[in-house]
Symmetry: C2
Subunit: 115 residues, 2 copies
């Protein structure tokens, strides 16, 4: 499964941003795909809960009660966030621990605003 595949922020012309020049179709597709992963209230809360948890990681069982949804649904959202490059998954015993990918949110933010 591919992780986030945004055109790198720091290529030839440093800090290519949304407002500096017109996005070509391919870049727009990539960025939209990444933003779509964020544009859901449940996923935002999951990201937020994981980020502010002990050790900046959490297992699925810890996330079920806070969001109040079924286990398959939570698993689905975690998969979307992972495939978009915002979370990593590591299995320890029967538990799956999800953690924030450092810099992933910052990279998206740099597309929206000046450095």
């Amino acid at each position: 499964m591919p992780t986030m595949n945004l055109p790198l922020v720091a290529d030839a012309t440093c800090c290519a941003r949304l407002v500096k020049e017109p996005l070509d179709a391919a870049a727009a597709d990539d960025l939209a795909h990444t933003l779509k992963a964020l544009a859901d209230p449940v996923r935002l809360r999951l990201l937020s809960i994981v980020a502010s948890a002990e050790g900046a990681e959490a297992c699925v069982c810890d996330l079920l009660e806070p969001v109040g949804l079924s286990q398959p649904t939570v698993s689905h959202h975690l998969k979307v966030l992972t495939e978009a490059g915002f979370l990593t998954r590591t299995k320890r015993g029967t538990w799956a621990f999800y953690a924030l990918v450092p810099g992933a949110l910052e990279e998206v933010a740099q597309w929206l605003t000046a450095p």
Copy 2:
């Protein structure tokens, strides 16, 4: 029509961000709604084209050819961006000019990353 209604970034505890503390459901809904307006390749390109146009504004007729979609579709996307607080609409003659709302993208970016 309500414009963007994000909980203010600079309220009591300055810079409440996604990774600092768990989002409550209401804040997650607001932020998701705003991000959803951005999470579309056509809308990203429209935003980008408007931002980098002469005078940072553009009329609908200037946007049809670059994105290659029908006029109703482009009007629809512009409406979504306007209602989300990213664009303003001013009518001059028979033309409707859209322009970036200063600071709107920055406000979203601040939710994703440290100041």
